[in-house]
């Protein structure tokens, strides 16, 4: 067991975990943040996508020792106080979430995309989300959601 400090959604915390425990499992089991999902366990589906020090990562591929001192953002940190993030609003209104299992990861990938590129083209949206699989929507309404969020200022900086 190692005691590992990290900041999750703006809150400093520390977890006691075996150093090779997956960040995904630490989030879900130790911190009770079950938004990130395991779809494949090998970094293919993106359901476990979170942001670590501003980078988009598959949390199933990150051993917790690698997150030592890191700043982590998960879907649970996306809404600001009681207000939905523009991306969350857009996913709701445009039909970007169907079964919802890919949605947390998709939202994190989309957040990451809009932060670096506030007004992406359709091709840039496709590329930005290509690491996140959705089996329900055929992606069309997800592209619409990201474009709509961009139009309403989806690049709002995470702030808490």
């Amino acid at each position: 067991m190692s005691l590992i400090p990290l900041t999750v959604n703006g809150r400093p915390t520390q977890v006691a975990a075996p150093p090779m425990k997956r960040l995904l499992d630490v989030l879900r089991e130790d911190l009770g943040l079950t938004g990130a999902k395991e779809g494949c366990g090998e970094g293919e589906c993106g359901s476990c996508s979170i942001r670590m020090n501003g980078e988009l990562v598959n949390s199933c591929l990150v051993p917790i020792l690698q997150a030592d001192g890191a700043s982590i953002q998960t879907v649970e940190g996306l809404a600001i106080d009681a207000e939905l993030h523009p991306l969350q609003k857009a996913f709701l209104e445009c039909g970007g979430a169907q079964c919802g299992i890919c949605t947390p990861g998709m939202l994190m990938a989309a957040t990451h995309l809009l932060e670096s590129n506030p007004r992406p083209t359709l091709d840039q949206i496709r590329e930005g989300l290509a690491g996140n699989l959705c089996r329900c929507t055929g992606f069309v309404k997800i592209f619409d959601s990201v474009a709509a969020a961009a139009a309403m200022g989806g690049n709002l900086k995470y702030a808490r």
Binding site: A36, C40, Q98, I101, T103, P104, E127, N132, G138
Partner: protein, 773 residues
């Protein structure tokens, strides 16, 4: 009031082929009921439920599976390095009731006791408090077998050299005759033959199968799970645990995709979790990882379809002889009904006076095939829609023209002699698809460019119908009960066993209830999907929920308003507070406010199971799709560059959700055609990882252009027909038709991967057809 009057619809329909009746909530893009929880990441799926609180003391379960496709178990060895006393171990001898999963039949064991009939078949179950200890324990159990010869294809099963099921390896067969096929061949201007095959397909719901079970002597068994059909699981658990109905409780939790893959399999995993819970005397969670889910759970039935068709000089179909073979895997599961739907969609949406269809579902030594969006229809529609292009080529007419000359119209009869009494607008759908895709102009343009470019472009068509609801007498047998109640908290609740797994069941049913009660969408919610709470409104399958169950909710709403007017002084026009005040008065007197309705078949629907004749479906959804492809002659890869989906699905209840169903189904069908290949080695899926089983990504899906024509169906909720499965039927043949248009090569099997195309280019078949123009 409870019986719809078709005249109401027909009169308004007469001035235009499609129209939209006046409604307040139905037909509008209401926000998904559970949407906020989903975008906040707080929706709880089965693996999100912790081993505390409701499931205090929970352990984790795992499954020990067969490593060979067929053989008898000789011995089971437990490696002594593992501290087995820490584990709970369940075998077939621990089953208190029947060792079978009760589906249509009861041939599939819950756990193998003696003979293994497919790879990855469950033999033992293990439980331990720490889930990380389970993989090592599973690997430490060695099973010795006396192997038996395995049957690994339809062709091997047909030889009957090994009998792996029943007396003849046949789960089910149908034979259908209309007119007299044999009299036609001699006089036909053309006879066109073809053979077409389709591969297995994995549902690839992003959430794997999972279940939590608890057992107590007093209350029996309770399971929480990711599932489509709570009452299927309920029936199966009653049998495995030898418990009466009131000692079995099934609760659906948020379900991360299903597509048919959580129709029959959850009965197995629920039984397994329950057996471990009974023996361990504590809650048990079993959640598969991706490799286990891919290797062990059901797939779409592989198929082989042969067509022999007689056509006159003008391209009119004179006779169709169709032979269908499905690979059902090792157990019967749902193969009989999948085969039935394949058979009933085999002629396509065409009229033909003489038809003979023989179809069989064969047993093999592979993982059982099960339900998957389309349920047999995508297989037989792939065959007929490829074959129609072959006929067009033989007659030197265009793909659209061969279809136009043979479309079903109102008054025509199908292969089962079902007279089509509803309006059929296939011609309208075809013209719209041609116009939206700019079909003729683009084909001409591409034909001119292709000879000079390494990228060959083309367009392909598919026309098809999908029968809505259960086949034949199915809905009568189901006898579904659904309704609404109004608890004291001033919310209307929809009472159904139909599940939300992304399609929008909850949203649609709340829209229908709100519409029928003249309330707002926010006044309505869905009751927990718990067999202790909701009646059996049937399974969430067969594109039946909006149309059939939605209709029960519509009727229940009207019935409740009448009840409140008669017995609780609800005014003729009322506000929401007046409605809920009337509910309070009614509840004070009657104890509860509840309105339930039972299924009533539309009039003039009659199906003869024995003769396999009559009204196969109460109504059909209709579609014409156009695929535009680009084939790269350097990499041999084909990609879809545009897909135009024009359909008539009755009334569209929620335009956002409806388009979402079409887009998602099209993307899944593009995967079926061009990407998704289940690779078996001695009956075991060897590409059982998302890295190696490839589905379309955000970078792969083309623009999908969705168009609806609306003709309300008089007996569906507010005019709805089924929609969910339709979009999986047409893209695959449209894409392969487009590839033929682009390359001149006729491909007859899917999935069609670049390596398959490469092999064909390497060694063209002797009777290769000329380039289609």
């Amino acid at each position: 009031m409870l019986t719809p009057n078709p005249q109401d619809f027909l009169e308004t329909m007469s001035d235009s082929p499609t129209h939209r009746p006046q409604t307040r909530i139905v037909g509008t893009p209401q926000i998904r009921k559970e949407g906020v929880d989903k975008v906040l990441g707080r929706a709880k799926y089965i693996d999100d439920l912790p081993g505390e609180g409701a499931h205090e003391g929970m352990w984790h379960g795992a499954t020990v599976r067969s490593a060979i496709p067929r053989g008898r178990i000789r011995a089971i060895h437990f490696n002594p390095r593992i501290p087995w006393s820490e584990f709970v171990i369940v075998s077939a001898t621990d089953i208190p009731g029947e060792n079978h999963i009760a589906m249509i039949g009861a041939d599939q064991p819950c756990l193998v006791s003696e003979q293994v009939n497919h790879c990855d078949e469950p033999i033992l179950l293990l439980a331990h408090p720490d889930k990380r200890r389970l993989p090592e324990a599973v690997a430490a159990i060695r099973i010795e077998y006396d192997p038996l010869p395995a049957v690994l294809s339809i062709e091997a099963s047909e030889t009957l050299q090994e009998i792996v099921w029943g007396n003849d390896n046949i789960f089910k067969q149908f034979h259908l005759e209309k007119g007299n096929v044999d009299e036609v061949w001699a006089s036909a201007a053309h006879i066109v033959e073809g053979e077409y095959s389709t591969g297995a397909q994995e549902h690839l719901y992003i959430e794997n199968n999972g279940m939590i079970a608890e057992y107590s002597e007093e209350t029996g068994i309770t399971v929480w799970g990711s599932l489509q059909c709570p009452y299927y699981v309920h029936k199966s658990l009653m049998s495995v645990f030898a418990l009466p109905a009131d000692q079995v409780r099934v609760i659906q939790v948020e379900t991360g995709g299903a597509f048919g893959g959580k129709e029959d399999y959850p009965s197995i995993i629920a039984s397994h979790a329950g057996l471990l819970a009974m023996k361990a005397k504590r809650p048990i969670k079993i959640v598969y990882d991706r490799t286990e889910d891919l290797a062990a759970t059901t797939k779409r039935h592989p198929s082989r379809t042969r067509h022999r068709t007689a056509v006159d000089g003008n391209g009119k179909l004179l006779a169709m002889e169709i032979d269908i073979a499905l690979d059902g895997g090792a157990y019967a599961t749902l193969s009989s009904t999948v085969l039935s739907r394949a058979t009933l969609h085999a002629t396509g949406p065409y009229v033909c006076p003489n038809v003979r269809i023989s179809s069989k579902a064969w047993a093999t030594s592979t993982v059982p095939c099960g339900a998957f969006r389309g349920f047999g229809a995508p297989q037989s529609i792939f065959a007929i829609e490829r074959h129609m292009d072959k006929i067009a080529l033989a007659l030197s007419i265009t793909p659209d023209e061969i279809r136009r000359r043979n479309f079903l119209h109102t008054g025509d009869t199908t292969a089962t002699e079902q007279r089509m009494n509803e309006p059929i607008i296939l011609d309208t759908l075809l013209e719209r698809a041609l116009k939206e895709s700019d079909y003729h102009a683009k084909r001409k343009l591409f034909a001119g460019q292709n000879s000079r470019s390494p990228v060959k472009r083309g367009l392909g068509l598919a026309a098809f119908y999908h029968g809505a609801g259960f086949t034949g007498s199915g809905e009568r047998y189901l006898n579904s009960l659904a309704g609404i109640d109004v608890p004291a908290n001033n919310k209307v609740r929809v009472l159904v066993a139909n599940t939300e797994f992304g399609q929008g069941t909850h949203t649609i049913l709340c829209q229908i209830a709100a519409e029928s009660l003249n309330l707002s969408y926010d006044d309505v919610e869905v009751a927990p999907c718990d067999t202790n709470v909701v009646p059996n409104s049937g399974p969430t399958v067969a594109s039946r929920t909006s149309m059939v169950v939605g209709r029960l909710i519509e009727r229940s709403g009207h019935q409740l308003v009448s009840m409140l007017r008669e017995r609780a002084s609800l005014p003729e026009t009322y506000s929401a507070p007046e409605f809920f005040a009337a509910c309070d008065r009614y509840r004070n007197r009657q104890g509860k406010v509840e309105s339930l309705c039972r299924y009533e078949a539309p009039p003039n629907i009659y199906w003869d199971d024995k003769q396999y004749r009559g009204e196969a479906y109460p109504t059909f959804a209709w579609a014409v799709y156009v695929a535009e492809v680009a084939f790269d002659s350097v990499t041999y890869s084909a990609e879809v560059t545009n897909l135009y989906a024009v359909q008539e699905v009755g009334r569209v209840l929620n335009p956002t959700l409806a388009a979402g169903q079409i887009e998602g189904g099209v993307a899944q069908a593009i995967g079926y055609a061009l990407y998704e290949k289940v690779l078996l080695n001695n009956g075991h899926m060897v590409n059982n990882q998302m890295t190696n089983y490839i589905m379309p990504t955000a970078a792969d899906v083309p623009p999908i252009h969705v168009f609806f024509e609306e003709i309300p169906f008089a007996y569906g909720a507010y005019g709805a027909k089924g929609i969910g499965e339709l979009p999986h039927d047409g893209p695959a043949p449209a894409i392969l038709n487009a590839i033929q248009d682009a390359t001149g090569h006729s491909f007859t099997a899917i999935p069609l991967l670049p390596e398959d195309i490469f092999l064909r280019f390497l060694a063209p078949t002797p009777n290769e057809e000329p380039v289609a123009q």
